[in-house]
């Protein structure tokens, strides 16, 4: 029963409905709608970069939007991009361009989730030969051009020159030139011993660490690379080979470090490291003298410790394999792909082609402190670059020894095995030989199962 002054249920619902209708008809419009209503095609570009890296990409997007009046690209920052993109493509609502990680390309490509780019790229004048040879392994999958390099990451050994100067006598005595950094695994070992400091001047392994020369797990993002400096391979001719003697040697070498320093001392020491991306990062604070990192490390150095005197050398190999003309290059790049079901592949490619103009490639690489993915690089690029190792990082992408993780969709699961195995070995749980044999068996089983499933589906096995 309603009394005078009460609002009836019907009146309340009517008022709410009228309000909703008004909002739908005259409420605020998103930027996307506003621009689309001007007759432009709106493309969504999902990218993982934030901060300086994101701002640099946004500038290129803005430049593209200003360069023509038919397409408007929206730069949308997306974390966990490989998973969200997958769900978006699956749900039939993909973006128009995605900035993936290189290791995502095989699974996306085999699932036909991204479009082959051969014809599209050719129609915009892009040629595979314009890119550094090592990068072709990432750009091409199963005989098709599937991804375009956004920024080129290659890994190298960063070393602290100030620490090397401080330990110059010990380094010289062990055959390491303190001005050049370690050139071989043997020299890296010697430099590690010379630059490591134990509390109270105690011998290695006999006390808490004050400084470590080199720790494979700092930052430890690439658990799978350590067999390569010894001549091993994760996979060869479609077969898992990470249990081969040469590959195992790499992990015996990894384990020798915590064995020598004392596993507990190392773990307690590492617990005091700040995460990457902060001024407390171990290389920045001088807690480790050397680390394997990508070119982006220079951005961190410039931002937090601009006075840090550092050098960059290729990841060393064992003496018998070391060859300055063929340095070891681990490729870890970002790529652009066009997802299946996007609004207008031609328009997406037009945007990608714009990003691939040499001046844009170099502008982005400069901001990211990375090398150029292109074969032809301008001298002004090197002159302006804020990474001392840019020439090396760029050259590594063209090295005959440039390598990528196995380009198979099963790699993600296999790699998790590498991550947990290296952590076990690092904590002296288990021996490298049997551990890598298990990992090889695991990898082969994943490859075999995937091949069987593809055969069952009537798909071609690459």
């Amino acid at each position: 029963m309603t009394t005078p002054g009460d609002i009836s249920r019907r009146a309340a619902i009517g008022t709410l409905a009228a309000g909703a209708a008004w909002f739908a008809a005259f409420g605020p419009r998103s930027e996307r709608d506003a621009i689309a209503s001007k007759g432009k095609l709106v493309l969504d570009y999902w990218e993982k970069w934030t901060g300086i890296e994101g701002q640099a990409m946004q500038k290129i997007v803005d430049a593209f939007n200003a360069s023509q009046d038919k397409i408007y690209v929206r730069y949308l920052i997306t974390n966990s991009i490989h998973q969200k993109s997958l769900i978006a493509i699956l749900g039939g609502a993909p973006p128009d361009v995605i900035g993936l990680y290189a290791f995502n390309v095989p699974s996306y490509s085999e699932a036909r989730a991204i479009l082959p780019l051969d014809d599209l790229a050719a129609s915009h004048g892009l040629k595979m030969s314009d890119y550094a040879s090592g990068l072709h392994q990432v750009m091409r999958h199963d005989g098709q051009w599937t991804a375009i390099i956004n920024t080129c990451g290659t890994l190298a050994l960063y070393w602290n020159r100030a620490i090397f100067r401080e330990c110059a006598d010990a380094l010289k005595a062990s055959g390491v030139d303190p001005d050049k950094g370690p050139q071989t695994i043997e020299q890296l070992d010697a430099a590690h011993v010379a630059t490591t400091r134990v509390a109270g001047g105690a011998p290695l392994g006999k006390g808490p660490l004050e400084r470590a020369g080199f720790l494979h797990l700092e930052p430890g993002w690439w658990s799978w690379i350590w067999g390569q400096p010894f001549g091993g391979h994760i996979m060869q001719d479609g077969l898992a080979t990470c249990g081969s003697p040469d590959f195992v040697k790499g992990y015996q070498w990894v384990q020798s470090y915590p064995r020598e320093l004392g596993s507990e001392h190392v773990e307690k020491f590492r617990a005091g490291f700040g995460p990457y991306g902060t001024p407390q990062c171990a290389f920045l604070t001088g807690k480790v003298a050397m680390c394997v990192q990508g070119p982006w490390m220079a951005n961190l150095i410039n931002q937090y410790t601009p006075t840090l005197d550092y050098g960059v050398v290729p990841i060393p190999m064992i003496q018998s394999l070391a060859d300055p003309a063929r340095p070891l290059g681990v490729i870890d790049t970002d790529v652009l792909v066009i997802p299946r079901g996007c609004k207008d592949p031609e328009a997406s490619m037009q945007f990608i082609a714009f990003t691939q103009r040499p001046e844009n490639v170099e502008a982005l690489a400069l901001a990211h402190c990375k090398g150029s993915p292109l074969v032809k690089v301008s001298e002004s690029f090197y002159a302006q670059h804020k990474n001392r190792g840019v020439r090396l990082h760029t050259a590594l992408a063209s090295s005959p020894r440039a390598f990528v993780p196995p380009p198979v969709p099963e790699w993600t699961e296999w790699k998790d095995g590498f991550d947990s195995t290296i952590q076990d070995l690092w904590r002296l749980r288990g021996e490298p030989g049997p551990a890598m044999e298990r990992l090889q068996a695991r990898g082969q089983s994943l490859l075999d199962q995937a091949a069987a499933r593809r055969a069952m589906r009537g798909e071609r096995n690459g």
Binding site: G220, G272, R453
Partner: protein
């Protein structure tokens, strides 16, 4: 149309939002996941029937057995310990004449309101072997703290410890149950010469067994499905650590990282059946162990 039919239609109409929601968001996905568990379904390709292959695959998957072991060991410690701690705290909070009871009850319950992710980040720092508060306190009393998160032997104990963070909800249920125990029974027990411990053992505990059953069942389900805490504590940029890998983490990996949706669905159904079986066993055991007041 009879009044009964009108009533039925009216009832169905009023409950239809829930019924539709249940059908679309729960029953249908449940049925679909059962179907997917018999298929090879890499998300971006259509599912293909493969019979029991996913289930037999689980039997031969070392990683599956590792997470089963980890999850069971965690549950075996977390459930009794959380139950014990929450009972002790509840008994203390229900003590007649306790000052500032509301404050303490609030303090115990408050952590359960903190988002699990935020709590996990706090624990991450608490467990830091070098600068973490726990090891600093241990050092203060002359004990060298362990490397909580990087030493395989300490992974499960660390997780169990974090489980105590969320006992507030159980404590509230227990306090409510204890407050329902008739005061006359305590008076009779006191007259019979029972001290506080025996009163709790012989009067309180039997009368709050329905609350214990409820808490243990929900705790069991929660423990077997633990996700956020091990995800934050044992996964970082260096990848995952086996010692802290749990069932739901592997399930998530299979579904959304490795794109093996069929395999993940099979894991989910195995988990559901195990939870149902455990709940059934507990319900069966409760017939003898749980006392409902007023029941014959």
């Amino acid at each position: 149309m009879s009044a009964r039919t009108r009533n039925l239609i009216s009832g169905l109409l009023w409950t239809s939002p829930w019924l539709v929601g249940f059908a679309v968001f729960l029953f249908l996905p449940l049925a679909m996941s059962l179907w997917y568990s018999f298929t090879d379904y890499p998300l971006l390709k259509p599912p293909v029937y493969i019979g029991m292959e996913n289930y037999t695959g689980l039997l031969h998957d070392d990683k599956f057995w590792l997470v089963v072991k980890n999850t069971l060991v965690y549950s075996a410690f977390a459930i009794p310990l959380s139950t014990l701690v929450s009972l002790v705290v509840a008994a203390w909070l229900a003590t007649p004449g306790l000052r500032a009871r509301g404050f303490f009850l609030g303090a115990v319950f408050l952590p359960t309101l903190v988002p699990m992710m935020a709590a996990a980040m706090v624990w991450l720092w608490l467990f830091n072997a070098e600068n973490g508060l726990i090891n600093v306190l241990l050092k203060f009393v002359g004990v060298s703290g362990p490397i909580w998160l990087n030493d395989a032997r300490w992974s499960i104990p660390a997780l169990v410890l974090t489980g105590l963070w969320g006992v507030g909800q159980m404590v509230v249920v227990y306090v409510a149950a204890i407050n329902e125990v008739p005061a006359a029974l305590y008076e009779a027990a006191t007259l019979d010469g029972m001290g506080p411990v025996r009163r709790f053992q012989h009067v309180t505990l039997p009368l709050i067994t329905p609350a214990v059953l409820f808490n243990v069942i929900t705790l069991t389900i929660g423990s077997l499905q633990i996700f956020v805490m091990p995800y934050v504590l044992f996964r970082n940029e260096q990848g995952q650590r086996d010692s802290g890998n749990m069932y739901n983490l592997l399930l998530y990996d299979n579904a959304f990282v490795y794109q093996k949706f069929g395999y993940a669905s099979a894991m989910a159904w195995v988990q559901l059946l195990v939870v149902l079986a455990l709940t059934g066993i507990m319900m069966f055991a409760s017939k003898r162990l749980v006392h409902y007041r007023g029941a014959a």
